[in-house]
Symmetry: C2
Subunit: 351 residues, 2 copies
DNA sequence: CTAAAATATGTGCTCGAGCACATATTTTAG
DNA sequence: CTAAAATATGTGCTCGAGCACATATTTTAG
């Protein structure tokens, strides 16, 4: 609230009765400064709380920032499509500061594809890389490689246990499972048969869903209400038709279930086959895919938990660019809020 | 994705075989350029899609941006406290670009205070002002004055009907009411006595709450379920003790109510007096005040609708600074998402 | 006490855009 | 055809930070 006059190095030099070269040496601890000069300059720096002009600084540095984005192909899994919007939004903000981008997609259901594409990415001359480390082991190998060749990386979507959490933006998946549980609890109150359903299309990329299940179960364990019974079901398959039959068979053989918690965005596959005539049911799943919103609007899905891939990718890009261009520190623990979405507030989260 | 080499004016001058002065004149349409030179330069500009270096530009302009924040005193109404965090966060981002701030607080329950403080603000030498226009008529007078003296303004929290919505960031209050209704509907299912409760401490600043009520009622109207009965109650008073008695009396005389929708952050006053022994009740209100979260955790409040004052103020500040410093256009219709908060996801929205 | 070495300090250029002013070229008037 | 006026073009400074290099001052060795 004080009158924040912006001091320049020249101002400081004049105030201290030295040249700007000396001020510069003091600021950057480059030595070759007498103790008298050092003290004078330091006192003034402290007094006026000198902040260098970021604009002048970055003009001088004239750094460029070329980022590489290593993520699943949104054509293969539409969950990732909003990430592009978030990244492009960040690019818009940073391209006047010399930021450029390059996308490298991999098939999220195919480990080999990740390995192949990550090698491709490494060949590129990027200054920083943003990646969704879907495959634990392979991703760790990849970032070790990045460390070795001194390239900055940043993770989004899911964390890697062995990695500095300062380099990650995403959600707390355990807590996210608890939220699902709370929603089903609020809606069904008691005497409910609850199913935790893992629908997995091709590849078992399960750490994600397991964390959610853990959180979900922890909520009900703490509740100590015997009138809820919980069971886990894994609905897998090889091709889409097959999966549809599996789900249909599951629904038909479990008419007693009235609470459905689907641990990923595939909930629309279940919703398509659910009959909403049964009065007291609660269906909770993940992600604002068009297909999911359709069933949210029609009332078959009660709640969707929003993982906000767009914001995750946006923030990841911004952190990287800010770090590379302006040496800004990346804030610690970037857990973004977990949004509860129903038929009345989903609009706010699209675009 | 092409090789985005960053061209400078010097590069263009060389390519066109002219001096940078001529290039500059072409770029800014300042005339005094022969047709041959004009064509040559324009062709190259088009060809390389020249984008001026924003950093160099703003170093040259060396604009300062002094913002004034005209908002309610958070000491008087704690709802506003998070706004300060959001504004300071924005300030952190922009102070290296020469942005400074000045707060002018008014008493949100006192029109005269607003008028007095807004006059005070006008005396200040600001480049832009961010305000929460609580008082319709007075605020319109104020921004008309701003228009007259050509000062940039931006609104947050609530809109003014007569004002360009491009200068506003906030939430859709009607929709927010519908969300409250949906939550009560999901939780209570049917056969419910629902109360819409306006708790107003001193001043009737009602447009806010009226919009929410309209949305709330519109949801139930569309539902066409006779088993819900809706009633509106206005709980007013002159001093806090008095209000407590009023609320207590209201609760005691309306034991039949099981759905409570409180249209503002004062829901903790109701929650403090509610008995949660009754099994099938649903209490929905607004805002993540500490007092509200207490009752959310204890289970008396089921849902809080998050108006995200922090993000509103953050975005407002960012838009103003970006506009003043970099001539960025302020995006149209800045309606931020309306977050549904329960005991399991509130943490993500704090800080 | 002097010359060389070590240390301290200052100067002037750069980053890219933008503009004032100086200079060069073309057009017009007589 | 020439001088003045009009027009076109180019030069060099500035914004603030940062650094290489030039210069000044102090210390050390003999």
């Amino acid at each position: 609230m004080q009158d924040m006059k912006k001091y320049t190095i020249k101002d400081i030099a004049k105030l201290a009765g030295v040249s700007k070269g000396t001020v510069d040496r003091v600021i950057h601890n480059r030595g070759k400064v007498s103790e008298t000069a050092l003290k004078k300059v330091n006192n003034i720096l402290k007094e006026i709380d000198y902040q260098p002009n970021l604009i002048a600084q970055s003009l001088k540095n004239n750094k460029n920032c070329h980022l590489c984005i290593l993520m699943p192909d949104p054509e293969i899994d539409p969950y990732w499509a909003p990430c592009i919007d978030g990244i492009e939004e960040a690019l818009n903000e940073f391209s006047p500061f010399g930021t450029t981008l390059e996308y490298v997609y991999f098939n999220p259901f195919n480990k080999d594809s990740f390995e192949k594409q990550s090698l491709l990415a490494l060949k590129s001359e990027f200054d920083g890389i943003l990646l969704a480390p879907l495959f634990q082991k392979e991703s760790i190998a990849f970032i070790n490689e990045c460390d070795k060749i001194k390239k900055t990386y940043f993770l989004f979507n899911n964390d890697l246990k062995s990695v500095d959490s300062q380099k990650f933006v995403g959600q707390d998946l355990f807590q996210s499972g608890r939220i699902g549980a709370k929603l089903i609890h609020s809606t069904l109150k008691g005497n409910a048969e609850v199913a935790i359903i893992h629908i997995d299309e091709v590849f078992k990329n399960a750490t994600h869903m397991q964390e959610k299940e853990k959180g979900f179960r922890s909520y009900f364990n703490e509740l100590k209400d015997n009138s809820f019974s919980l069971n886990t079901y894994k609905l897998k398959h090889r091709n889409a038709n097959n999966l549809k039959k599996t789900i249909k068979y599951f629904i038909d053989t479990h008419p007693e279930i009235n609470g459905f918690f689907v641990t990923n965005s595939k909930i629309n596959l279940l919703a398509a086959l659910l009959n909403n005539s049964k009065k007291s049911t609660c269906v909770v799943g993940y992600d604002l895919l068009q297909e999911n919103i359709k069933y949210l609007k029609s009332g078959i899905i009660d709640y969707l938990i929003h993982q906000n891939p767009k914001r995750q990718a946006y923030l990841g890009t911004v952190f990287l660019a800010d770090y590379i261009l302006f040496n800004k520190v990346i804030p610690n623990k970037n857990l973004i809020p977990i949004d509860i979405v129903n038929s009345e507030n989903y609009m706010g989260y699209l675009k």
